[in-house]
């Protein structure tokens, strides 16, 4: 899932300073699950904007809407008519969602309310951790299903750097050294030998990447 965080309120206010009618648009998939850009957060942000506008005598009309996926034209089309009543759309989706809406509703200025941070998994209630770097060259078969590209500060693929202390990473000191986790997992699977294999330097993706899945393309 894609994880995103709300931008600082001041930054959002500043983005909106020239607009009177703004649609705050939530996304019903990833950012709803990580509780940062779904229906509930749309409600909170829209009322915060109204309140701030009132205090600063610069009232704005903040509409509220949430669609299932902002990265999918099918759902964006559902708000096409309603969106034409607004000066701007403040998207609470990830960067892909913002661009999806901007592409489909090209006549309206689409602004990002979020900073997209990572592809992650849940790590206990209310916590998500980065898990995949979308490197395009997966090696999880050799690392016990734990990714060192995304979860080692140096993305090392041939074992740890030697900087861990008490099992924690020396760079982000609250995080476990991912290689210690890999070691433990492979130990449980009786596959420690996999660590001895030489990992080749990774191929690097050329941006932008594209996926054409014939089944989808031709219906």
């Amino acid at each position: 899932m894609i994880v995103a965080e709300l931008k600082p309120f001041k930054e959002i206010e500043n983005m909106l300073r020239d607009y009177k009618k703004v649609m705050v648009l939530g996304c019903g998939t990833c950012v709803t699950v990580c509780m940062s850009g779904g229906e509930r957060q749309v409600e909170l942000l829209a009322s915060a904007l109204r309140m701030a506008g009132r205090l600063e005598r610069n009232e704005i009309i903040a509409g509220e809407k949430t669609i299932l996926r902002q990265c999918d034209p099918e759902f964006i089309d559902q708000i096409k008519d309603e969106a034409s009543n607004y000066d701007a759309i403040l998207s609470m989706a990830c960067g892909a969602g913002v661009q999806g809406v901007a592409e489909r509703l090209a006549g309206i200025h689409i602004l990002p309310a979020m900073n997209t941070t990572f592809i992650g998994v849940s790590d206990g209630q209310g916590t998500w951790i980065e898990a995949c770097a979308a490197c395009g060259d997966c090696i999880l078969d050799r690392t016990g299903g734990i990714c060192p590209v995304a979860r080692c500060a140096k993305s090392l693929i041939n074992g740890p750097c030697g900087g861990s202390k008490g099992g924690l990473c020396e760079v982000s000191k609250n995080n476990p050294c991912v290689w210690q986790q890999i070691y433990a997992r492979l130990g449980k699977l009786n596959l420690i030998n996999l660590l001895k294999g030489m990992s080749q330097p990774k191929t690097r993706p050329v941006h932008p990447r594209k996926l054409v899945n014939p089944k989808n393309a031709f219906g």
Binding site: G162, K165, Q200
Partner: protein
């Protein structure tokens, strides 16, 4: 006799280390190098150590060669992608540099430009493979070189990894580094000879040369700081106490370092002394250690 020849000769090796300055004032650094010259087999020159922007290792290595010192060019994977690493290796060779120490490198967030992009396109193991490949006359994608270097590559290992899994992985990675071409190892600072001996026993079958790391203790505070913050370094309480109670910190520091060196003499092939600003005292340490 250069470092490689010294290593082949079977003598007990001594290397020291200098860290380039932040800026262009190199007099002090060269003065330190001159004082150590002749007493050590090689001097390592660090590559933006602790991720702090400073004068580069390659230029300083070249200056040391001009003064008749055989340098070990430390090269990290932090700041250069595979193109720049290979090109810098070729540049180093034509400037007379023969020994390269391949390291991963500290993360930029630990230094004075924390927002710098961490490159880590290659890791220390793949960098060693690249060096071996260049030595064979090819770049890492298999293109032939017009004139090949003949580097003497080395690597680092951290024998003081603080748990069984971490130590196990250090040993596994050490073996990979040897497979990738590392001919010698310089270790993190050692203060516990029993622990070091255990490590050496595990690495015994590897048939490589290990230079045990010595970090000169400057004070009890420094020891405590390292225990808290530096991975793989553990200064036992009795050394801290000695440093605390002494009236002459330099003398005690030298005594401790010499004691450790003497203890290492029958365990490994040499020592690597990291003086961290006390380079001028390296000759006294060696004298005290009977080297």
């Amino acid at each position: 006799m250069g470092f490689r020849e010294a290593l082949d000769s079977g003598k007990f090796l001594i290397t020291a280390e200098i860290g380039p300055v932040k800026g262009t004032e190199i007099d002090g650094l060269l003065e330190d190098a001159d004082l150590i010259k002749g007493k050590v087999d090689a001097i390592n020159v660090t590559d933006l150590q602790s991720s702090v922007m400073r004068l580069g290792s390659m230029a300083v290595c070249h200056l040391l060669i001009d003064r008749g010192i055989d340098p070990v060019f430390q090269m990290t994977c932090r700041d250069r992608n595979r193109l720049a690493l290979q090109s810098d290796l070729l540049s180093a060779w034509v400037l007379g540099i023969r020994n390269v120490l391949a390291l991963t490198g500290d993360h930029p967030t630990l230094g004075d430009h924390p927002d710098a992009m961490p490159v880590f396109d290659l890791d220390s193991v793949s960098l060693l493979r690249v060096i071996s490949r260049l030595n064979e006359g090819f770049d890492m994608t298999g293109n032939q070189l017009k004139g090949a270097p003949a580097f003497f590559p080395g690597a680092v290992v951290n024998p003081g990894a603080d748990n069984e899994a971490a130590l196990d992985m250090q040993i596994i990675k050490m073996e990979k580094k040897i497979e990738a071409g590392a001919k010698f190892f310089q270790t993190q600072g050692i203060y516990d000879l029993d622990l070091f001996e255990k490590f050496i026993k595990r690495a015994e079958g590897f048939k490589t040369q290990v230079l045990g790391g010595i970090i000169l203790l400057k004070s009890a505070g420094m020891a405590r700081f390292m225990n808290k913050n530096v991975a793989g370094v553990f200064v036992p309480e009795h050394f801290i106490k000695e440093m605390e109670e002494t009236k002459d910190k330099v003398k005690t520091s030298i005594k401790i370092a010499a004691e450790l060196i003497k203890g290492m003499k029958h365990l490994c092939q040499g020592v690597h002394i990291m003086a961290i600003g006390w380079e001028k005292r390296v000759p006294m340490v060696l004298e005290e250690a009977g080297l």
